[in-house]
């Protein structure tokens, strides 16, 4: 399995507080992704990165920002968490964004009260 870990795995926070989720991969993958998974919805792409300091928006990027200062780390930040951001967040990485398989982390369950 690709070495991709997420932290924290579980977090409960209050509306209006900032939250940062971390994704760390040890595979030297160039491409990294943040998804959210909600009941009734497929995985939806929030942001992705195609290299250090190179990021772009996905389908549901409003309210989220990302940063990638090192190949191995991809951070997802909720500047001011809202209840609608309660979800399970998955990080993924790959060497080949075109046809390569995505390797997913175990997920981070975020609850915003």
């Amino acid at each position: 399995d690709a070495g991709i870990t997420q932290s924290p795995r579980h977090k409960v926070t209050e509306t209006g507080t900032p939250v940062t989720l971390r994704c760390h991969q040890t595979e030297n993958h160039r491409y990294m992704y943040w998804y959210r998974q909600d009941p009734g919805h497929g995985l939806r792409l929030i942001h992705y990165s195609y290299g250090v300091k190179d990021t772009d928006k996905g389908e549901v990027s409003d309210g989220y920002s990302v940063s990638r200062s090192k190949t191995e780390d991809f951070l997802l930040t909720l500047e001011s968490a809202t209840s609608s951001q309660t979800s399970v967040y998955f990080c993924a990485s790959t060497t080949d964004s075109l046809t390569g398989e995505l390797f997913f982390g175990e997920g981070s369950r975020l609850t915003v009260l």
Binding site: G40, L43, L45
Partner: protein, 112 residues
Amino acid sequence: SQKIEQNSEALNIQEGKTATLTCNYTNYSPAYLQWYRQDPGRGPVFLLLIRENEKEKRKERLKVTFDTTLKQSLFHITASQPADSATYLCALSDQTGANNLFFGTGTRLTVI
């Protein structure tokens, strides 16, 4: 906008039988179609990728077909086992690949 539908939320099948899962899509012309497996509380795991110009792909007990005319992919698991019980996700992308990858909501397969 594109829409991806997986035939049913849940599918129960008897051990040893072939499980067939369906992925239909509209308003989209995918270049690639992928299938993932997801166990409860875990991240998805990649199974197979098929390109738009490929009709069928196999991997061990798995077979995927891709019909761009019907806008449909079928995912088969032959000789199903209880260990195959999981949620299976289909995902579509255009020529930009994973930077524009859309997932279905999944079908939960239970092998009994």
